[in-house]
């Protein structure tokens, strides 16, 4: 149980390594070993999507993957969406300007999920498509409407 494994992967464009037990989830690895606290855990059962990160560009539940499974892959977390001291990225600015967050807890996962969606729907698509895309991320504050508007705004599409 306590045997440690070396994990080497790329996170937000930077090569990172860690020594963890095989049972450590990717979410805990990111938070506790790499000190990337922007990935949030809200159910640990894979239902709420609040821990979503991008693995090779696709959203995954980081609570359902072990860190060792992510070895060799390229990850993007919310910390990778903007320079820590620079201006907010396009999606972040759109959430800011459209009331896309309240408590902010699901926000990193929403941003990453929206990021993945806009890669395939650069024109924003329909409201229904946006809602379909974020359906796997639970938000208890917003009722989703301002999140949909934010994603639409990021795509430059009229609401």
């Amino acid at each position: 149980m306590t045997e440690l494994r070396q994990v080497e992967l790329e996170v937000n464009g930077v090569r990172r390594t860690g020594l963890v037990e095989a049972r450590v989830t990717l979410a805990d690895f990111l938070r506790d070993e790499l000190d990337l606290k922007g990935t949030h855990v809200a159910c640990e059962h894979g239902f709420c999507g609040n821990c979503n990160v991008l693995l090779d560009g696709e959203t995954v539940r980081s609570c359902l993957l072990f860190a060792v499974q992510a070895a060799g892959h390229s990850l993007t977390t919310v910390e990778g969406l903007a320079d820590p001291t620079g201006s907010l990225g396009r999606l972040q600015q759109a959430f800011h300007g459209n009331g896309g967050l309240q408590c902010g807890f699901c926000t990193p996962a929403m941003l990453l999920t929206a990021h993945e969606y806009l890669e395939t729907h650069p024109d924003g698509g329909t409201d229904e498509e946006i809602r379909e895309a974020i359906n796997g991320v639970l938000c208890r504050c917003t009722g989703y409407q301002h999140i949909v508007a934010s994603i639409r705004a990021a795509a430059g599409a009229p609401g």
């Binding site: 239902f47 977390t77 300007g97 408590c103 926000t107 639970l138 504050c141 009722g143």
Partner: protein, 819 residues
């Protein structure tokens, strides 16, 4: 309303902030939230993000039984696991702690770890402290607890019978509280009215279910004896000193550090178990200990879930539709403990007649204990339930009279000229324009179009229904609602203050310090920044907002009951006024002009009409801090002010409780209209139109208000359609994960419009009313009305929630003879 009843300081603030003809510069604008950037970067610093040097982690062993005597606990195997520091049980609590705080009456004792017996599934029986959370959870599996199972009592009606198993033997009954309140002449009004409708109604137990769970870090300093608790909620004025008592330390040696919360919705309002446990564990081991619930613990045993009520309710009215009297009898299943007493019903009594001219009200309550997790606050605090009951009765009355539901409501609305309006319970509604809000929602929803649409759709065999409901949204509670239940209450507080301090530093930058919980998804920093910007005409994004820890805090009650925006605005306005006076005096001296000729503009104070005669705030501040000999001789150095703002308008109940006094007087008003289509094959419900119009007095920020309305509405949809904590016959929670506890997702939520109507409160700063709970006050009622209307061909009457898809299919099958 006698002016003498108003708090004089609050009355002064209300006068000074009323506003003249000049448009407001910052209030009322949808400025971007100042909180957002750090959360958008994943730098929110939630509780679980905090790491202290040498910090340990705790996990808890939860009871697998709903009711059982604890025979023995063997911790030896757990303690032998490498990395485990200590296993803590009820024995440690007996020796080193006192019971958890409670506002309930009688011997209903709750401990941070169960002693002798467990009273609900998931109750904590032991806590493991270890070097990591993984190890702590490993060790939980090694703690061996022997239980002697006891008969469970889950049905609150059965719990009232003489032979029912007792949840608390010392109480001698499971009925913790029982009383009937009568306002007006209820029997006579029922006898003399032309008609009555009655219903038995059930509102299910659900919970606020924030994404971020309750958590705390205890950090005991053996040198000073101070226990520091970082917690993602804890209200200083009401609860902090009670937690200190549980930890058996002087309140002066408990330092609470507020940490932002990823949502509360009531579930963190009286967070008592988690911070007390974290503080206690740290005190035992002398190192920092973090304890954060996991989702299963949150669902089964969080600090408190929402109401669980069975009603018998009747409305008496005349043939012309005039409402006369309301009679409500409620058995409320409080679960195993009674933290809040029956305050959630006090809340209901603040607006029990809704926006209608009902003169006579009888309200009976039995608060019953069962083997479930305890009940407490959930967005609406019990008033959302009573609004559902009232609006159900009104819909039934419309059906009885064969009268349009809008028209019936319109006939009974309190007229615009009758404010402040005293309701039968004694609480007042401060101001309103209900007919105006109704007219606006009918227009914005295009109601007549949808009525015609529904008729066409019905002719085509489609199941389209319209829901129309109104609601009050009381805001800013007074403490009296926690105790006016009792003839002889043991403790009768009347305070619910809020404070703010403002410091302009020597460079002219503004720092505002708040004195209660940190942000939990509301936008306190934005509200405060907009108010300060309004007063000083500075950029709200330039203002720094911080939170005092409890050892440095002024009185503060925090968010809850839609009070915070009203109260903190009053406090900020008071502190601003004091600071502005000082700035004017300094500037008046330096610019050699009368104070009355000065104005605040764009980060400066200057002479009205003379753009180049001004001093920047930085110039004034530098003088205030560093040039004492330039100041008026009686003026001390510095540029800071603090203000404590009390409830603007509250009075005591009378002795026999036929008048509960004024306890929740700033009352918003709202209407929602929803058009739904029901698929009777699958039971699914889709939205064709959802329109809301809210009057929350003066609006601080329309976009954030929209966010609260929409979010609350969708949360109420969850209550209406999906959410219920399910217990099996042994009292085990059946849906303890999100797999089976369904929260509304993006595809479940409607796209809605939110209209605003502004009737300022005459009593509050700027005329603001609270508005954080309104959405959830309406959507359960509107879904009931809309789905019932869609299923009208089948004669369905909706009397319980949630309205599950399988229930809809079942109703239709039964009505069509296929059941």
């Amino acid at each position: 309303m006698s002016v003498a009843e108003q708090d004089p300081n609050a009355a002064k603030v209300a006068r000074e902030t009323r506003g003249g003809d000049a448009p407001r510069r910052w209030l009322g604008k949808s400025v971007n939230r100042v909180e957002d950037p750090r959360f958008l970067r994943g730098q929110g610093r939630y509780l679980d993000d905090i790491v202290l040097p040498g910090m340990l982690h705790a996990a808890v062993v939860r009871s697998p039984h709903a009711h059982a005597r604890i025979v023995s606990i063997d911790t030896s195997r757990a303690e032998a696991l490498p990395g485990v520091v200590r296993v803590v049980t009820g024995k440690d609590v007996v020796e080193n702690a006192a019971p958890l705080p409670s506002f309930g009456a009688g011997p209903i004792v709750q401990d941070m770890i169960a002693i002798e017996k467990v009273r609900h599934y998931g109750e904590t029986v032991a806590a493991v402290i270890a070097e990591s959370r993984y190890l702590a959870e490993d060790a939980c599996d090694l703690v061996e607890v022997v239980y002697d199972e006891l008969p469970v009592v889950l049905d609150p009606v059965a719990a009232r019978e003489d032979d029912a198993p007792l949840v608390h033997e010392a109480l001698g009954t499971n009925t913790a509280y029982e009383r009937t309140f009568s306002f007006g002449e209820v029997d006579r009004a029922f006898a003399e009215s032309d008609r009555t409708v009655s219903a038995e109604l059930y509102w299910p137990r659900s919970t606020g279910m924030p994404m971020d769970m309750n958590g705390a870090i205890g950090d005991y300093d053996p040198g000073t004896g101070v226990v520091t608790i970082h917690a993602n909620s804890m209200n200083f004025t009401y609860f902090l000193w009670l937690i200190a008592a549980s930890l058996k330390i002087p309140a002066s040696k408990l330092r609470l550090v507020p940490v932002v919360a990823g949502g509360s919705f009531g579930s963190k309002f009286f967070m008592h178990k988690v911070p007390a446990l974290a503080g206690f564990l740290s005190k035992l081991v002398g190192r920092p200990v973090k304890y954060v619930e996991d989702r299963i613990t949150h669902i089964t045993a969080n600090d408190h879930c929402g109401s669980d009520r069975r009603y018998e309710a009747s409305l008496a009215f005349d043939d012309d539709g005039t409402f006369q009297a309301l009679r409500i009898s409620c058995v409320d299943d409080y679960g195993a403990y009674l933290q809040f007493g029956t305050g959630t019903h006090g809340n209901a009594l603040s607006q029990i007649v809704g926006p209608y001219r009902i003169q006579h009200v009888e309200y009976s309550l039995a608060a019953v204990l069962t083997n479930k997790n305890q009940q407490g606050a959930y967005r609406g605090f019990g008033a959302e339930v009573s609004n559902w009951v009232l609006e159900r009765l009104v819909d039934l009355a419309a059906r009885e009279l064969d009268l349009d539901r809008v028209e019936l409501r319109r006939r009974n609305l309190i007229p615009a000229g009758s404010f402040p309006y005293r309701t039968p319970t004694g609480n007042i509604y401060d101001s309103g324009n209900y007919q105006g809000v109704l007219a606006q929602v009918l227009e914005e929803s295009d109601y007549e179009h949808w009525v015609a649409y529904r008729e066409r759709a019905r002719a085509e065999g489609r199941h389209v229904g319209i829901g129309v409901v109104a609601s009050q949204e009381r805001s800013v509670f007074s403490s009296t609602e926690f105790w006016f239940w009792f003839d002889d209450p043991q403790f009768t507080p009347t305070s619910s203050p809020e404070s703010a301090s403002i410091r302009i530093d020597p460079t002219g930058e503004i720092v505002v310090t708040l004195h209660s919980q940190a942000m939990w998804g509301n936008s306190p920093e934005t509200v405060v920044s907009q108010v300060v910007a309004e007063e000083f005409d500075v950029d709200p994004a330039s203002i720094v907002v911080t939170y005092a820890d409890s050892q440095n805090a002024l009185p503060g009650t925090g968010p809850g009951g839609s009070r915070y925006t009203v109260m903190v605005s009053g406090a900020v306005a008071g502190a601003s006024a004091e600071l502005k006076d000082k700035i004017r005096r300094i500037a008046s001296d330096k610019l050699e002009v009368a104070e009355a000729d000065l104005e605040f503009r764009n980060g400066a104070v200057g002479v009205v009409g003379v753009p180049d005669r001004q001093l920047t705030l930085a110039e004034v501040a530098l003088t205030a801090y560093l040039f004492r000999l330039d100041l008026p001789p009686d003026m001390p150095s510095g540029l800071a002010a603090a203000s404590v703002y009390d409830h603007p308008l509250t009075t005591l109940p009378n002795d026999d409780r036929s008048d509960l006094g004024i306890f929740y007087p700033f009352v918003g008003h709202a209407w929602h209209i929803a058009v739904v289509e029901v698929d009777v094959e699958t039971g699914s419900v889709s939205f064709l139109r959802y329109a809301a119009v809210h009057d929350a007095g003066t609006i601080v920020n329309p976009r954030t208000l929209d966010g609260q309305v929409i979010g609350g509405t969708v949360q109420g949809l969850g209550t209406a359609l999906f959410e219920e904590i399910l217990y099996d016959e042994a009292g085990r929670v059946l849906n303890e994960t999100f797999e089976r506890y369904h929260l509304p997702s993006a595809l479940d939520a409607p796209k809605m419009t939110v209209g605003h109507h502004e009737t300022p409160s005459p009593y509050t700063a700027y005329g603001i009313k609270g508005a954080g709970e309104g959405g959830r006050m309406l959507s359960p009622a509107i879904m009931s009305g809309a789905i019932e209307d869609a299923l009208a061909p089948y004669g369905v009457t909706i009397t319980s929630l949630p309205i599950r898809a399988e229930q809809i299919v079942d109703w239709v099958a039964t009505a069509t003879g296929e059941g």
